[in-house]
């Protein structure tokens, strides 16, 4: 075989190998750590600021609401690929229903994400009462998922 052709072929094979490694499945423990990181960060902005704002327990700060709703818009898209079937035996608060009733779990995800999208729109609209009401709607969607798919805390 021509040496140049051999080297070109070798480069191709190695290149494909690299791409495969790069896209190969992450270890289940890493997937769980990533999805738990999302929950930690949603909690950071939710429990200390957005939820008490919706409940009228702290003063309404429109700039902070806009920032934190923007964060939630990103975060609310991040956890779901971490609930891969490969993670079902990793210790976490996820209930077996996540894997045995995947369609219902997907519905609960979509309901939550849908309420967050409405919250993003409400925040851009700038009507404080509408934003607060939508924060409570998001809260209900959080709880809906937690009740059926997460161990009681």
């Amino acid at each position: 075989m021509n040496r140049k052709l051999f080297l070109a072929g070798l480069a191709l094979v190695l290149g494909a190998g690299y791409a495969l490694i790069s896209f190969s499945q992450l270890r289940p423990e890493v997937l769980v750590k990533q999805r738990q990181s999302v929950m930690t960060l949603q909690g950071k902005y939710w429990y200390r600021h957005l939820r008490p704002t919706g409940q009228g327990k702290i003063p309404y700060d429109a700039n902070l609401v806009a920032r934190n709703v923007g964060f939630l818009d990103a975060l609310s898209q991040m956890p779901w690929d971490g609930f891969d079937p490969s993670t079902k035996d990793v210790k976490s608060a996820a209930l077996p229903a996540v894997y045995t009733d995947a369609a219902k779990f997907k519905e609960a995800q979509d309901r939550y994400r849908g309420e967050v999208v409405k919250l993003v729109a409400a925040t851009k609209g700038g009507d404080e009462a509408a934003v607060k009401a939508q924060i409570l709607a998001v809260n209900k969607a959080c709880d809906g998922c937690h009740e059926n798919f997460r161990e009681k805390q």
Copy 2:
């Protein structure tokens, strides 16, 4: 004292107490967990997709780049309040310089954040070569901070 006035006063005091609790300082361990969660998630989108895209090691997927750069735009704003002085004795990879050279640490944060803002703009511009070059600029800013403020991994 008039009973109604007393109850109104009590409600005010309890209300203020609630707000104080709500805004009180989080435990240092919680702050560290939150900031580490941000690093985990930046890693999720950086090492598996954005960086190899910038390096030309995987095919350019404009939609995925736009989504992940949007995620990075949010994430890159989140970790910094977690490096509170109260956390300096919590075990983590943060070097003492984070707290002893706070001004230089802030500069490194701002440099990183500035490069991410430029990446967001480049992504909206839609020029693949410009996006790839800016991904590499962000990568340099990550490394700059890690070299001086994080334990060698």
